[in-house]
């Protein structure tokens, strides 16, 4: 029973650990609007973003800290459709990739005790097959 109680207190993000995606994108002023806008429009969660030009300045590398849940596959497939996104790879290092960024920004490191994942935006959409269910108030257009 104690285990059960702990499970109840677990946040959604603990049940769905974070994963880091590394993108290679065409480097131009609008490309981050394409990537960030996609997350906003499709109600995907993104907890962290870092972006720098690569050695080849016509490309940029983007790190995205996202939640590993049932919708990750859909996130990747939507990202893959963006013409400016040339490559998508899952970073083996996981949360660690954002450790340095967290220090620079003075923020809790992902996965640390103080770490709070970005809300639960889109939680209702996790059950895509429940689309139209009155419980989540969707699908009644």
């Amino acid at each position: 029973m104690p285990d059960q109680r702990r499970d109840d207190r677990c946040s959604a993000e603990t049940r769905h650990p974070s994963v880091v995606l590394r993108l290679v994108v065409r480097n131009h002023p609008g490309v981050m609007s394409h990537v960030c806008g996609l997350f906003h429009r499709r109600l995907f969660n993104v907890d962290g973003i870092a972006c720098l030009p690569t050695a080849d300045a016509s490309r940029s590398a983007v790190l995205l800290l996202v939640r590993e849940d049932a919708r990750l596959e859909q996130v990747v497939r939507q990202l893959a459709k963006l013409v400016d996104v040339l490559e998508i790879r899952r970073e083996a290092a996981g949360d660690d990739a954002f450790g340095v960024v967290a220090v620079a920004l003075g923020c809790p490191a992902p996965g640390s005790a103080q770490w709070v994942s970005f809300g639960v935006t889109g939680e209702a959409r996790h059950q895509v097959e429940g689309y139209g269910d009155p419980k989540n108030r969707l699908g009644t257009i």
Partner: protein
């Protein structure tokens, strides 16, 4: 060759094979229009940029070939947005070119400056802000390649005025942009699909716009015939299977014939071909085809598993996949399933009251179909008339039926009909519209008159936003609000004022004869048909409800249930952020 950015665009469009471009000029696109002055490309002057966008869409939808529209900066671009978004949701190859203020002025809130690039990110397949004339050499062909490859869609090219004016010497021209080769499916996919089909006792094919985009209509028919598999269509899949084919069940979903939804309810294998499980087709997605395994073929990988988790999802061109399936599938009668389908169809046919009366919705659609013949192209606007046409018009071929499906844009029908008529001058185009929809782009009657297009507008005038009224009657306790037009315009007089021939069936002693004459008119023509405001589209599935729960014309009990059920079905139930 010595030219400037604008001249380069026009030359590249000519090389793409573009012959007609609808648009409206303005300050930031004048260099482009100056370059068009000396071109063989015919410019069609629309009366609103949204009209220009939908004229281009009509051209693209009727032919499958990408079409171009032009707008200037600022309001020119914002007016195009609805037509671009519509093309995105229905996967239509459209290239919209917009003027932009000179780069030196961008970011200063200059006159008619707007962030066209930023505005069009969510509604395009891809977009460009061009920063030099030389860039155009790869941007224009790439735009056409992207617009037509895999799942088609709209591309926006925003060109600042100084880039249009920038001098450039071109030594070698790029190849025109063409669609990438179609995506094939793997042999493992084919084996899996064939196994599912062989295993199925009660299969149904559900076909959508992807079948038409892939040019796979004949393959669908052959697969259906070989496997004795009935075929249902989404709104945008209508025409891909001839309406009179014995295996064709008509449209699925919110306004389907009762039999069609019930057959899907009983199927044990749903083969989704070029569909995206739109909510208007599936009803409550979790209860759609509850007993079925799902084989889903779509060229867009992100559609596989987006709404329904397939037993097998195949990312491939529908045509390529069907050819591969056909090579391995043996003819198979399914007598028990065929008998059950026939039984359901006999018991639950679509009721079409007034089918013999030219002045009532179904009768009008049937009369127009009989008079216009199979060669006609049909466009519609959005609302009750759209559903009556979808239910009752006997479409026989792909690209015969052009309608705004995903975005559901009122105002689509008339300019799309003009575009279809420009692209297919040998065909008659009929635009079914409603009074609410027609008013949203009525200015394009001027374009129709100017271009003398063979467009016959059939206006079903009930002086209401009919489908809004219907939802208020069924789901909001009959509390009608803002769905009635108190001031009812004289549409025939308005059409004549635009130089368009017009008839009003309200005052015609022989309506059928008037209709016949209107469909013979060489130029544009409008026929207004008064329709009772109480005429509703049935059956109707409550928004958000499962497809098996259909409200019928003569079912007061289910009506009461539905209107009490605002908790589950209310329009105000928005997703909470």
């Amino acid at each position: 060759m010595q030219t400037n950015g604008a001249g380069l665009i026009v030359r590249l469009l000519e090389r793409q094979g573009i012959t007609t471009i609808p648009g409206i000029p303005g300050g930031a696109s004048l260099p482009l229009y100056d370059a068009l002055h000396g071109s063989a490309i015919r410019h069609v002057l629309a009366r609103h940029e949204q009209g220009a966008g939908f004229i281009a869409q009509g051209m693209a939808r009727a032919t499958g070939v990408p079409a171009v529209c032009l707008g200037t900066s600022g309001p020119g671009a914002t007016n195009l947005l609805t037509a671009i978004a519509d093309a995105k949701l229905d996967s239509i190859p459209l290239v919209a070119i917009t003027g932009q203020v000179p780069r030196a002025m961008m970011g200063t809130d200059a006159f008619q400056e707007i962030d066209t690039y930023g505005l069009t990110i969510p509604i395009t397949k891809h977009n460009y802000l061009v920063s030099s004339a030389r860039e155009l050499l790869h941007v224009i062909p790439e735009a056409f390649r992207i617009a037509t490859s895999d799942r088609p869609g709209p591309v926006v090219i925003d060109v600042p005025k100084d880039v249009q004016l920038e001098a450039i010497t071109v030594d070698a021209w790029p190849e025109p942009g063409r669609a990438d080769p179609a995506t094939d499916c793997t042999s493992a996919d084919v084996l899996g699909a064939v196994a599912l089909l062989e295993d199925a006792r009660r299969p149904v094919l559900l076909i959508g716009a992807g079948v038409i985009a892939a040019g796979a209509s004949d393959l669908v028919r052959r697969l259906a015939e070989r496997g004795s598999i009935p075929v249902a269509a989404t709104l945008l899949g209508l025409g891909a299977m001839p309406a009179h084919h014995p295996l064709f069940l008509g449209m699925v979903g919110m306004h389907a014939a009762r039999a069609t939804n019930l057959i899907l309810e009983e199927c044990d294998l749903l083969v989704g071909l070029g569909i995206r499980f739109d909510d208007r087709a599936t009803g409550k997605a979790a209860e759609f085809c509850p007993h079925a395994r799902i084989l889903h073929v779509d060229v867009d990988a992100s559609e596989l598993g987006k709404i329904k988790t397939p037993t097998l999802g195949i990312q491939a061109d529908v045509g390529a996949a069907l050819r591969a399936f056909m090579a391995q599938i043996n003819p198979r009668p399914r007598p028990a399933w065929s008998a059950r389908v026939a039984e359901l169809r006999a018991a639950h046919r679509l009721a079409m009251p007034g089918a013999d009366d030219t002045c009532r919705p179904y009768g009008l659609v049937r009369a127009v179909a009989a008079l216009a013949g199979d060669d006609v192209i049909v466009t519609s606007d959005v609302g009750q008339h759209q559903m009556w046409v979808a239910q009752a018009f006997p479409f026989t071929r792909p690209r015969q039926w052009l309608t705004s499906g995903g975005l559901g844009t009122m105002g689509f029908g008339l300019p799309a009909a003009i575009g279809a008529a420009l692209a297919c001058p040998d065909r008659r185009v009929v635009c079914f519209t409603g009074d609410g929809s027609l008013l949203m782009n009525i200015q394009e009657l001027a374009t129709a008159a100017e271009e003398k297009v063979r467009v016959t507008v059939i206006l079903l005038d009930n002086a209401h936003l009919g489908l809004v009224r219907q939802q208020q009657e069924l789901f909001y306790g009959g509390r009608f609000h803002a769905s009635r037009f108190v001031a009812a315009p004289d549409f025939a007089a308005i059409a004549r004022g635009f130089g368009v021939e017009a008839y009003d069936l309200a005052t015609a002693s022989r309506p059928a004869a008037v209709l016949a004459h209107a469909l013979e008119t060489p130029g544009p023509c409008l026929v207004r048909v008064p329709i009772a405001a109480e005429a509703n589209v049935y059956p109707m599935v409550r928004p958000g409800g499962p497809n098996r729960e259909m409200i019928d014309r003569d079912a007061p009990v289910s009506r009461a249930t539905a209107s009490d059920d605002t908790e589950n079905g209310g329009d105000d139930a928005r997703p909470t952020p």
